[in-house]
């Protein structure tokens, strides 16, 4: 795809317009909105962690609307089967009365899929999402089907009710481009939320772009230049999450069991490129790397027993690593 100069120059304006429109329906959560957009533009999937009622579903629906993308929601439960997610072959009769198998697509066949409370489903069902998330394809009955582009899975999980849940395995977590922490809104934001949702007429977000537009933005973002020194910084940051690495600081050696996979490095660089454009820059900065490092690495960093016992979080450890890393 040929990149137009005009498209590059207007990249940040488009993002700004998207954020503005989403912001009509979603109060606060600006960073979450931005990071979800980064994930979409990078072609990745996001895992949102937060208590119920924070507007996760609403966010996804709004994004789908603003980006003019098809949106599906799957509520994950323990009895959800893989076929319920990806679809299945069912027996149908044609006009002549002959029986035949026909593929009935599951809810994953959409541009945006909200996998709500993904950790409540069994690992078997969770793993049914793997191919869709990584390859953007679904294979049922020996036939592989492509999912529509752009394709984006946004999974959520509730950090509170852990009983009867199936925590996502490391391999599946690694498939998520970002893990986003949805915090409770502030008082002011709550006022606005209540006012918006309980009185008068709700403001409706307008469509800003479409699937093709997203794909063009995605292509532009892939071309953002990054200085060798900045890329080196990002990679050293990833290496610093590995306790056995020479780059690892004391905090990593003390609290980390496993560090980030190379997907973490890919996620950081891709996300930093998009963030740079969002900021109106045509190059990646160290600050971009630091900004995207938390959502890109927090679910790829596995604490050891000591870290968990001392109440450390991946974000704490990442912060210490970043603070100790020279540019």
């Amino acid at each position: 795809m040929e990149i137009r100069e005009e498209a590059i120059r207007t990249f940040s304006e488009k993002i700004e317009a998207m954020e503005k429109e989403i912001g009509r329906e979603i109060i606060g959560q600006k960073e979450i909105i931005r990071q979800v957009l980064i994930t979409i533009l990078a072609g990745g999937n996001a895992l949102l962690e937060g208590v119920p009622g924070l507007g996760k579903t609403r966010l996804i629906r709004t994004i789908g609307h603003v980006l003019d993308l098809k949106f599906n929601r799957i509520q994950f439960t323990p009895d959800l089967m893989p076929a319920d997610v990806v679809g299945t072959n069912i027996v149908t009769r044609d006009e002549a009365g002959n029986s035949r198998f026909e593929f009935q697509p599951g809810p994953v066949f959409s541009n945006i899929v909200l996998a709500d409370e993904i950790n409540r489903a069994t690992p078997k069902t969770q793993s049914a999402m793997l191919e869709a998330m990584q390859e953007h394809t679904v294979t049922v009955g020996g036939v592989t089907r492509k999912l529509p582009e752009p394709y984006f899975v946004l999974a959520t999980q509730n950090p509170l009710e852990q009983e009867g849940t199936y925590p996502l395995p490391e391999a599946q977590l690694d498939r998520f481009f970002f893990k986003l922490m949805v915090n409770f809104p502030s008082l002011e934001e709550l006022h606005e939320i209540v006012n918006l949702t309980t009185s008068g007429e709700e403001q409706k977000a307008q469509k800003v772009t479409d699937g093709a537009g997203i794909l063009e933005l995605r292509a532009i973002a892939r071309e953002v230049p990054i200085a060798r020194g900045v890329q080196d910084y990002a990679l050293r940051l990833v290496l610093a999450t590995h306790p056995e690495s020479e780059e690892a600081p004391g905090v990593t050696k003390k609290y980390v069991r496993y560090g980030s996979s190379p997907r973490g490095a890919q996620a950081i660089i891709s996300a930093a490129r998009i963030r740079a454009l969002m900021e109106g820059r045509y190059n990646v900065s160290f600050q971009d790397i630091r900004y995207v490092a938390y959502p890109a690495l927090r679910h790829r960093l596995f604490l050891n027993f000591e870290g968990i016992a001392e109440g450390r979080t991946p974000d704490d450890v990442l912060q210490e690593i970043i603070e100790g890393l020279s540019e």
């Binding site: 137009r4 590059i8 230049p225 200085a227 060798r228 900045v230 820059r281 045509y282 990646v284």
Partner: protein, 558 residues
């Protein structure tokens, strides 16, 4: 490494940043240089508490100044790399625009162009003064701490100050002594006793000594060098004297009348010289005067004297020749005395080959004492320390007194040449330790006879001497000008001139042997002490000062 291409426009807009960074690195290096300079100063000060360091302030200032200047120069010469300039500009809010633009300098795609334009645009509005060139707080703290530590070190009493003062005093003394050496060197030009070669040799030795003294740091080395020079001079002068005597002997041998004397002079046989001179004296006095011999002798002396360079010997020889001529023409009897003086001159040359350089030797001896004194050391202690061994010596000195009785009546005139001593026997015992003290005692006896004779009368003189021998360590020799030439007292025998009477003269020789103006310290100590005590009694000296002087001599005796 290949130099990366830099977009000219980018390079141009980065020039002020580059200049600012050069200024920054200069200031930074100057601060580091100052810290290093202060640190080295503090190290000097700390070390000075354990080792005496002369002129520490100058050393600190020079070394510190050099470090500071070098640091500033290094800072000025350190040209920042393009990567560093880019990084520094980016740190001031340009968010890696410059670094990326620099790396993309060779590219011309859409993104590279847009990115470069963006970077240049931002650089145009960039104020290089936003790059902080101030010295960091840590450096200020380090400098302040070092200055404080240095001030405290300066204020603390330094146990090495006394040693430094002494060293300083010693250096000043050495400087003064070098000046004296140079003066003596100049005075050598007027010394008629020395040949040009000898003068040059002495000057060379003195110049070498002066040079070494300038470079020397410790008093021990200085004293060693002075001693070495002394030894060199003594050896050199002894050889010169031998050669001079051989030459003189050769000249005298050519004359028939002084042939035998020439032989004795050549061999440096003191006794022989005296005997030969005695014979000559007999020829020019008494009843058996032979005018022909006297004329021959007068002529011989004249001829030899003419061949000699200007010196006391030449004067004595000329005087003797003139006296013989006077005796021949006027009948006076001056020849014997003149010959006697000549004999004295010749024997002294044999006995004391270095007497010609008495001033120099005295000065060198004195120099050692002064250097040691300035360094707070006792020269005698140094001598003991250097010797560190027992060394019995013969009781080889004594003091003799000569008495002579008048010739009965004949009014002759006589004199005994020197109160002489002759060491007859000696015994000694002593002990010495390894350290700087040793003691011992010795005994020596010397007896001498002196006699004087005059014409028409006889006179005899006996000299007896008893000496306290040194039966202990070899003391440092010191110069005693009072004793130059002899070791006894002169016995004068008066009488009336006449041609009668027998004259007998027995020369007992020199008691000390080859006394060259230098004698062991212990030999004069008693005399010096007694003089000091007498003077203390006579002079108006405060009681505490008397006590001080007494204690001083007591301590020397211990």
């Amino acid at each position: 490494m290949m130099k990366r291409y830099v977009d000219p426009e980018l390079n141009k807009v980065l020039a002020p940043v580059r200049r600012r960074l050069i200024l920054k690195s200069t200031i930074r290096m100057a601060a580091l240089g100052l810290i290093a300079a202060l640190m080295q100063g503090l190290i000097w000060l700390i070390v000075s508490f354990f080792i005496p360091i002369f002129a520490i302030e100058i050393k600190m200032a020079v070394t510190g100044g050099l470090i500071f200047i070098i640091a500033c120069l290094v800072g000025l010469m350190m040209k920042p790399s393009m990567a560093k300039i880019a990084r520094e500009a980016d740190r001031q809010g340009l968010e890696e625009r410059v670094l990326t633009a620099w790396e993309l300098s060779g590219r011309d795609d859409v993104f590279a162009r847009l990115q470069r334009q963006d970077a240049i645009e931002k650089l145009h509005s960039f104020d290089p003064k936003s790059i902080d060139i101030r010295i960091s707080k840590e450096k200020w703290i380090a400098m302040g701490s070092l200055v404080l530590a240095m001030v405290i070190s300066f204020l603390l009493p330094n146990p090495q100050d006394h040693a430094i003062q002494q060293q300083l005093q010693m250096k000043n003394t050495i400087k003064e002594e070098i000046e004296k050496l140079e003066e003596v060197e100049k005075e050598l030009a007027d010394d008629v006793e020395l040949t040009d070669e000898e003068r040059e040799e002495i000057q060379k030795v003195l110049q070498e000594l002066a040079q070494k003294l300038k470079e020397i740091r410790g008093y021990r080395e200085a004293i060693k060098e002075v001693t070495k020079s002394e030894e060199k001079l003594v050896n050199m002068l002894r050889k010169a004297q031998e050669s001079r005597m051989a030459d003189l002997g050769e000249k005298l041998s050519r004359q028939e009348v002084t042939q035998s004397l020439g032989q004795m002079v050549r061999e440096m046989d003191e006794q022989g010289i005296m005997e030969e001179m005695e014979k000559l004296k007999e020829m020019v006095q008494g009843e058996k005067i032979d005018r022909e011999v006297m004329e021959a002798l007068q002529k011989a002396l004249e001829e030899v004297a003419e061949q000699l360079p200007d010196s006391n010997l030449k004067s004595s020889m000329m005087e003797a020749a003139d006296a013989i001529a006077a005796d021949l023409s006027t009948g006076s009897e001056l020849s014997a005395r003149a010959l006697e003086a000549l004999e004295g001159q010749l024997t002294q040359m044999v006995q004391n080959p270095v007497s010609v350089s008495g001033n120099i030797m005295y000065m060198l001896q004195n120099m050692k004492g002064k250097i040691a004194q300035a360094a707070g050391q006792d020269i005698s202690n140094l001598a003991w320390a250097e010797a560190g061994q027992q060394n019995n010596r013969d009781g080889d000195s004594g003091k003799g007194n000569g008495n002579s009785s008048d010739a009965e009546n004949n009014g002759g005139q006589g004199s005994s040449v020197t109160g002489n001593q002759e060491s007859q026997s000696s015994s000694g015992s002593g002990s010495g330790g390894e350290g700087n003290s040793a003691s011992g005692e010795g005994q020596g006896n010397s007896n001498g006879n002196g006699s004087g004779g005059g014409i028409g009368g006889t006179s005899t003189g006996d000299g007896q001497g008893s000496g306290i021998g040194s039966g202990h360590v070899q003391y440092e020799k010191i110069y005693d000008p009072q004793r130059l030439g002899d070791g006894g007292e002169i016995s004068q025998v008066s009488g009336n001139p006449g041609n009668e009477g027998d004259s007998e003269q027995i020369n007992a020789g020199q008691g000390i042997g080859s006394f060259d103006g230098f004698i062991p310290y212990n030999e004069v100590f008693g005399e010096y002490k007694s003089h000091a005590m007498q003077n203390l009694e006579r002079m108006d000296v405060p009681p505490n000062m008397r006590e001080l002087v007494k204690n001083y001599f007591s301590s020397l005796e211990e």
